[in-house]
Symmetry: C2
Subunit: 319 residues, 2 copies
């Protein structure tokens, strides 16, 4: 059925937008990109995105069977509207799915949240091939997720499921905060900066020229890779907290694999060891931990394009 | 297809075991029960359970199409073994499903976790009729759950999903604890006892004759219903913590209804108002809260029998 199928994968990111033509085996046949310049707002950005898609559609060797779009933020499935995405400030309720569909009325258009479609990409063409129950977690400036159940992207009752970063992790008296608020890149930076402020020694102080406002998650990660004790503890704390989140997800979803992506995941064992240890320490039965792999993502910057194409292929197969 | 179908529903509880004959509309046609005496261990209890089931099978007016069993604790789906259930101390890896199947080789036997099957019962014959995406949470001596996705009980990759009580709710430095450890009946009692110990006024002190060891969740609930300030705050705290758990589940599963059962849920608004408020306060988009009802369970002590029968009917329909 899908011999010679061509799919367009679109990645609308906060900094860059990428469009590619793919075949049904997820080979990228043609790929273009340009800066998003999200601050210009949807009225300027969307026409440029449509032109970018058109350049790939028009150059396709066989007719395009579907267009899959990866976008930040929760998406209202009935209207294809992007709901207040943190990476696209000012984009409120933009009906991107409908806009693209109106431009190409004969090509089915599918819109998915970036972390959600990344989960599909890893299951169909990445680190979780062969797994029917998989959870993808991206740890970078935020914490996003995608949940695959029985080989399908799980979206819940109204399409908004899988927002792993917004689970409540700390509810201790006055302090209530989410996994993302406690463990994503900015939290990693804040934690380190707080200890630096208190006068602790660390090479981070030098790296930012004494200006603690300049501490980022990336810098803390670099310091950890150089063996800095404070930075190592900060990274381990993030790993531990993500590990507790994983323990929760093990009890709720009992998947057979977790795939960890995002910039922070590049820290390898410094992050993964405390993550494993925390998850293992909190399961009520070893079966939850023993039968669930926890692995780094296999796909790089094209993960959203591949995931958008996987979403389109999945939906077309069911139609 | 299911005209005149007869199903056996079995509820193996920590204190009582109940067996009933049901029709496909969940009418209870015949019902027997006796104390479990779980302390006698599986070697004594299981033969008595088999006799109880046999008495109902033999008295059925038409042949029995299936036997559904509700049991405490996580269940290994491949072997039908009960894994270390907290309500049946000493029952480790008891292959109850296989034992019952061997006794009635011609009747398909299905085994489910008590809170999981309660979710099915509420969806098919209780407070969540018509909902395809529903989450059941029972708050009593523990916190259990059951998750229904697309009208089916969700069990995850290896049958162990839905253990809502074991999600990590507090991960603050040295203190790491689960929703169950923080919010179930025993935690409600401990919280009140701690404040009483510190010298605060409350009618609870009188109710337990000054012996703080005697404080239970039930007593705290009774004091709250009489307007006792400390007890009201303790109940509100439990409501708030369960509400944070609900907020997490809204982001992960985006269901259209939550059904709250278990003894603690009988406290009504004293519990439900802080629960609603906490859930509402933590969602990243109003859509998560606005489209999800939070309602008390509709079924009483027969919920596990009805759920066990619903599990059997669901599996038979798919066979």
């Amino acid at each position: 059925v899908f011999v010679d199928t061509r799919i367009i994968g679109v990645d609308l990111g906060g900094t860059r937008m990428r469009v590619a033509l793919l075949d049904a085996d997820y080979n990228l046949l043609n790929r273009v990109e340009e800066p998003t310049n999200a601050h210009e707002g949807p009225d300027k950005v969307i026409p440029r995105l449509l032109d970018l898609i058109a350049s790939v559609v028009d150059a396709a060797d066989v007719p395009v069977a579907g267009i899959g779009i990866s976008s930040p933020g929760p998406i209202e499935p009935e209207t294809g509207a992007i709901l207040s995405p943190p990476n696209l400030p000012g984009w409120v309720d933009v009906p991107l799915g409908r806009i693209v569909q109106e431009r190409w009325p004969d090509i089915p258009v599918f819109l998915g949240n970036d972390a959600n479609v990344a989960a599909l990409a890893e299951v169909y063409n990445g680190a979780a091939i062969g797994h029917k129950h998989a959870i993808y977690i991206t740890v970078s400036t935020g914490i996003g997720g995608g949940i695959v159940i029985d080989g399908q992207l799980f979206l819940g009752g109204r399409g908004l499921a899988g927002e792993i970063g917004h689970t409540v992790l700390i509810a201790d008296g006055e302090r209530v905060s989410s996994l993302e608020e406690e463990a994503a890149g900015p939290a990693l930076a804040e934690y380190a900066a707080r200890r630096l402020q208190a006068g602790e020694e660390s090479i981070i102080r030098e790296m930012v020229g004494g200006d603690l406002e300049q501490v980022t998650g990336k810098i803390v990660g670099q310091a950890a890779q150089q063996g800095d004790t404070l930075a190592l503890e900060a990274v381990a704390r993030t790993g531990r907290l993500v590990g507790y989140g994983i323990a929760s997800l093990m009890h709720l979803f009992n998947p057979t694999i977790f795939v960890i992506g995002g910039g922070v995941s590049n820290l390898g064992d410094l992050l993964f060891e405390p993550m494993h240890e925390a998850a293992r320490s909190m399961v009520i039965d070893p079966a939850y931990y023993d039968h669930a792999a926890i692995v780094p993502a296999a796909l790089g910057e094209d993960v959203a394009i591949i995931g958008a194409a996987a979403l389109a292929l999945q939906e077309l197969k069911q139609a």
